[in-house]
Symmetry: C2
Subunit: 144 residues, 2 copies
């Protein structure tokens, strides 16, 4: 569904968010450990997310990553997905046609349409704050 890069990105953001809720910056190493993702790859992905202003980074001692709590409440998962995987999830045709729409649909178009729409709506309504508070309360996990 999502690329590995996107999975790592979402998990990293959720973990950083839980720590920002406690007013703690986190280093790459901690992010990797607590999200069960490879450290160097996660660092690269966080570079992308920093450029997209989804997370803030601070260099040097006592540095690390943080997310503004106010912003977190309005930040949608769709923004993370878009920053890493682009819009393929939203616009792509199930059978890979360049253009595929109601007027000239691929054979699966109608079947996919509502499902894809629901997925889109879900990603656009789920906030990072929602996911982070659920993780913090122990109602969900990031690593096994």
């Amino acid at each position: 569904m999502f690329s590995k890069a996107c999975e790592y990105g979402i998990k990293a953001i959720i973990y950083i968010a839980t720590q920002s809720l406690e007013n703690r910056r986190v280093k790459i190493g901690d992010v990797a450990n607590h999200s069960g993702s490879p450290e160097a790859f996660t660092a690269k992905i966080l570079g992308t997310l920093t450029k997209h202003r989804i997370v803030r980074s601070v260099k040097g001692p006592y540095g690390g990553f943080e997310i503004d709590v106010g912003r977190m409440k309005h930040m949608k998962v769709s923004e993370i997905v878009y920053a890493i995987d682009g819009d393929s999830i939203y616009k792509g045709c199930a059978l890979g046609l360049d253009r595929c729409n109601a007027a000239e649909p691929c054979p699966m178009h109608d079947h996919f349409f509502s499902i894809r729409n629901e997925l889109k709506k879900m990603l656009e309504t789920t906030t990072v704050y929602d996911l982070a508070t659920k993780l913090r309360s122990g109602a969900s996990i990031l690593v096994r």
Copy 2:
């Protein structure tokens, strides 16, 4: 969503099905042309689908691929997806956790559950016959 291999496989099967409805066997070259997919790669994928008995192949002059019309009416898209991509679509966790379920969910689990289920149900109820007749009637297209 699906791998390229899976996209090509589904398109190939739909095209072969339209031709089997007219009692015509089709050669790899025709399949590739009419499904807009690379020929050699499509041939390899049809090899897999032949082993899974999803399509029948006949070697030699007047040979090619065909699908039994009776079988076609009960053949679900999910069978093609499973033969090529395995069960990742059905069982995979959105965030890549090895195990992820209601008891120990990833933070996205609940959000994904119903969407994934709908996708599964859709693939398990859509038949190759449905898709082939729609294509044959001109209500959908495979190539642009």
